[in-house]
Symmetry: C2
Subunit: 153 residues, 2 copies
C-alpha cells in the first residue's frame, strides 16, 4: 500500500534531475543484462568500437573510449579470454598490441545490441515513435555540447 510518495517538485522541475535519474536507470538495467553474461559496460563499449572502426591498438581504444590504458588492458584481456577478440603484436612495432574483433565477438555484440535496444524500448515505452525520434535528436545536441564548460578537456 505504500504510495509511490511523490518526489519533491523542486527536483522534478529540473530537467537535469530527470536526465540524471532516467540515465542512471537505463545504465543500471543494461549493466544488469550484461552482468548475466559476465560482461560489463566497458566490454560492450570496446566491442562496439572494434566493430565500428576496425582493429585498434590498445592506446587507440583508451583514447577513443576515454578510459585508462591500464583498464583497457584488463578489459581486452577478458574479451580475449572469452574469444571475442584476438590480440596480436604489431610486427612493425612490437610494443603495440593490435586488437581485432572475432566472429564470435561480432555475434555477441549483435546480441548485446539487441539487449540494449530492448532496454531502450522499455525505458522509452511512454513515448510514441515520433517522440522517441525527437528525444534522440535533442539528446544528440546536448551530448554534442557536453565537452564545453566545466569540462575543458
Amino acid at each position: 500500500m505504500d504510495l509511490p510518495a511523490a518526489r519533491p517538485p523542486s527536483l522534478l522541475g529540473l530537467s537535469t534531475y530527470l536526465l540524471s535519474q532516467t540515465g542512471k536507470t537505463a545504465r543500471a538495467r543494461l549493466a544488469q543484462r550484461l552482468a548475466d553474461r559476465g560482461l560489463k559496460l566497458w566490454h560492450m563499449a570496446t566491442l562496439a568500437a572494434l566493430a565500428d572502426f576496425g582493429p585498434h591498438v590498445q592506446r587507440e581504444l583508451a583514447a577513443r573510449l576515454a578510459m585508462d590504458p591500464s583498464d583497457v588492458a584488463k578489459v581486452v584481456d577478458e574479451l580475449a579470454a572469452a574469444g571475442y577478440v584476438d590480440r596480436s603484436r604489431d610486427p612493425g612495432d612490437r610494443r603495440r598490441v593490435a586488437v581485432t574483433l572475432t566472429g564470435a565477438g561480432r555475434a555477441t555484440l549483435a546480441e548485446l545490441d539487441t539487449e540494449a535496444r530492448q532496454v531502450q524500448d522499455d525505458i522509452l515505452a511512454p513515448l510514441s515513435l515520433a517522440e522517441r525520434a525527437q528525444i534522440h535528436v535533442l539528446l544528440e545536441k546536448v551530448y554534442g555540447g557536453l565537452r564545453r564548460t566545466s569540462d575543458p578537456a
Copy 2:
C-alpha cells in the same frame, strides 16, 4: 592535438547511451558544486523535500526519497549540524523525530537551486528555449514510466 576521438556510432545511436552520458555529466557537475559547500546530492534532495512538503518524520523522508532510513539519519544529522534543519522529538510519539527546515535551510536551498539551474543552463546550452521545454516534457514522460518493467517495486 588529440582529436576528440569519435565514439562508436553503435553507441551514439542508442538514446539510452546519450541519456546515460548526459545524465551522468549533469549529476557530476551539480555534485561538484555542492561539494564546494560540503554538501552532497542527498542533502539537497532532503532540503527540497522539506521545502516542498513541510516537516517530515525521518521515515517519511526515507520513503519519499527512496533512501535507506539509516542514511537519512546521517544526512539529517549533517543538515542539523549546519543549522539547515531542526530536529525535535514528536511529543505524541517520542520515537519519532520531526525534521523542519530552518530559515537558513530555506535560504541555502534557494542558492542550491540557483546553482542547479546554472548547471542545467550549461548542459542544455545547445538547445533553444522551445527545445528545452520539449525535452523536459519528454523526460517527464519517460521518468513517469520508470517504475514498471525490470523494476517491479
